[in-house]
């Protein structure tokens, strides 16, 4: 690794409520290289979306207490940016797409108009040139019949089309970082596959770095270069996608992989699924020590006493677990269980 990473987050903590007492994100650190995809994995309430909105600076003023040692994007210290600078960066340097495209599109305006406005907000050009750019980007996200779609309203499009429009809107100013918050969760699998395919195509073409937020391990395996696993507000494991899937080093990651019912052609179905017992803890009821300790099959005494420190498993793969070798590889899991 040479020089500074494209995006660098150190010790990000985000609190809500009076005095930031409800800490939705605690001490999160990760890096992202330019042009790579980082998947932020976690369940509802794990803090993955809050992490993303903190990078984008999208919290309502006064609602969240964001603290971090470092938050640098492309050499810019985001912690020092005021609201005006942030809003200039949003759209031009970084952009975000959401699970529900309808909530980010104005139902009363045409697609073409909204895309053009997004473009003109950041770049000075004639309406004609802007329209040409909009056409180009619509074709780029594979909207069939793009010229006609420009005068369509959001409700006239299918969910998949709307998400393509959102991607077009996010990419129209060629941002270098795209944050995608569960963009395919509301879509059907065949449409999800199209959107994932489109994102990776666009990434290859424009060299955009992507933070992809999801709870779906299948999607992670499909698109991630690196993975960061979040649980109850903290990062518990991070590393390259192959390492995470083949050699998970945290009880939560391993538990999730074993608990997921998957279909692999040619292989028999796994027997009984391995359950993760218990429920996701709420922020006000976090256990002492490792936050996963009460649900972890491999927990030992020390897990109850203190929050484990980061440990390197292999190069670039680290886990916040005192028992990182206990889980073993998952690659042959299916065969083991069915044998």
């Amino acid at each position: 690794m040479t020089g500074e990473p494209f995006l660098s987050i150190r010790n990000l903590t985000v609190g809500f409520g009076a005095g930031g007492a409800i800490r939705a994100v605690r001490d999160v650190s990760f890096d992202l290289e330019a042009g790579k995809t980082l998947c932020l994995v976690g369940e509802s309430g794990s803090g993955k979306s809050v992490t993303a909105t903190s990078i984008m600076g999208l919290h309502k003023p006064g609602s969240a207490h964001v603290e971090a040692a470092t938050m640098r994007l492309d050499g810019i210290n985001l912690l020092e940016c005021d609201e005006r600078e942030m809003s200039r960066l949003r759209g031009s340097l970084m952009a975000m797409i959401f699970q529900d495209p309808m909530s980010s599109l104005n139902p009363a305006l045409t697609i073409g108009f909204q895309l053009r406005e997004a473009l003109l907000l950041h770049e000075k050009m004639s309406t004609r040139a802007a329209n040409a750019r909009v056409m180009e980007v619509l074709q780029r996200v594979r909207i069939p019949d793009a010229a006609r779609r420009m005068s369509a309203y959001p409700h006239q499009l299918s969910g998949g089309m709307r998400q393509r429009i959102m991607i077009a809107m996010a990419l129209i100013c060629r941002p270098r970082l795209l944050i995608a918050d569960e963009p395919t969760t509301a879509l059907d699998v065949t449409v999800q596959a199209q959107i994932l395919w489109l994102l990776s195509e666009l990434q290859r073409e424009f060299g955009t770095a992507i933070i992809f937020i999801t709870h779906d391990l299948g999607v992670v395996a499909e698109i991630a270069d690196d993975v960061a696993v979040m649980y109850a507000g903290s990062l518990v494991e991070r590393g390259p996608v192959h390492a995470i899937f083949e050699n998970p080093a945290h009880g939560y990651t391993a538990g999730l992989l074993r608990a997921t019912a998957e279909f692999v052609p040619g292989e028999p179905s796994r027997g009984r699924l391995e359950e993760i017992p218990g429920n996701v803890p709420s922020f006000s009821m976090l256990p002492q020590g490792c936050s996963f300790v009460e649900r972890c099959r491999f927990a030992v005494d020390s897990c109850h006493r203190r929050t484990p420190d980061w440990r390197d498993v292999t190069f670039g793969h680290a886990s916040r677990c005192d028992q990182p070798v206990a889980y073993g590889p998952t690659a042959n899991l299916t065969v083991e269980v069915s044998a």
Partner: protein, 285 residues
Amino acid sequence: MTTVSSPALSKPKPARPGVAVSLSLLALAVVILMAIFGPLVFGLGNDLNPMMRLKPPSAIAWFGTDNLGRDVFVRTVSGARNSVTVGLCTAIVVLAIGGTLGVVAGYFNWVDRIVMRLADGLMAIPGILLAIALVSVLGGGLVTVIIAISVPEIPRTARLMRSVVLSIRELPFITAAISVGSSTPKILLRHIVPNAIGMLSVQATYVCAAAILSEAALSFLGVGTPPDVPSWGNVIASGKEYFRLAPWIIAFPGLLLSIMVLSINILGDRLRDRFDPRLAARRAS
């Protein structure tokens, strides 16, 4: 199970009622006490006293006197009974009839068509005109006033309940109730009505406030309660010609009327917040 919870992270305290709500409750309590005990303690304030006509507020007559020399304070305090009675009775009548119609119309499509067309027709007539017409046909009196005010309010409440029921009806727990074999009356009474009751009680406060105002308006126009029984409306009405000379005749009952209606509306808004399922979910989490 060991859990750490700092004081700030422990259970959220039940939200304290705001100042506005406390004041509203206080105002309402005072008015209700006035309605119950006012006439008993002070009488109806019908004693004419030509020597005391149009006197400003003083130690003898706190709110001054009117053109017939009657004590405005006594009439205002005793008038609360009429106003409160009209408000409460109208709310009960409107909720009973309008609420039932709305619930039934919301659940059964065929009833819906009939009830809603009738409601549309009724709503097209200006409420106060309808009330005047009813009073002139049926003659004055408290019961007539209540009927006259209720009729135009019923379709509004029916419409509201219908829309509430329509949205509840589509929720999966109603489908679930059907599929576990619950009968239609059971679904209506045990699932739909309890979940709609919040909105209904909010509507009750609005109807109550509106009825008190309507009664005042009717009395002001001279078709409300008989003049020998004081109500805020006819006290204000009796002062309208002397407004320049003796503004206190209108000012004090008018002030009380405003405070009462405002208080009821504040409590209604508060109730609505309480029963809003989204807010309830936020409190629960």
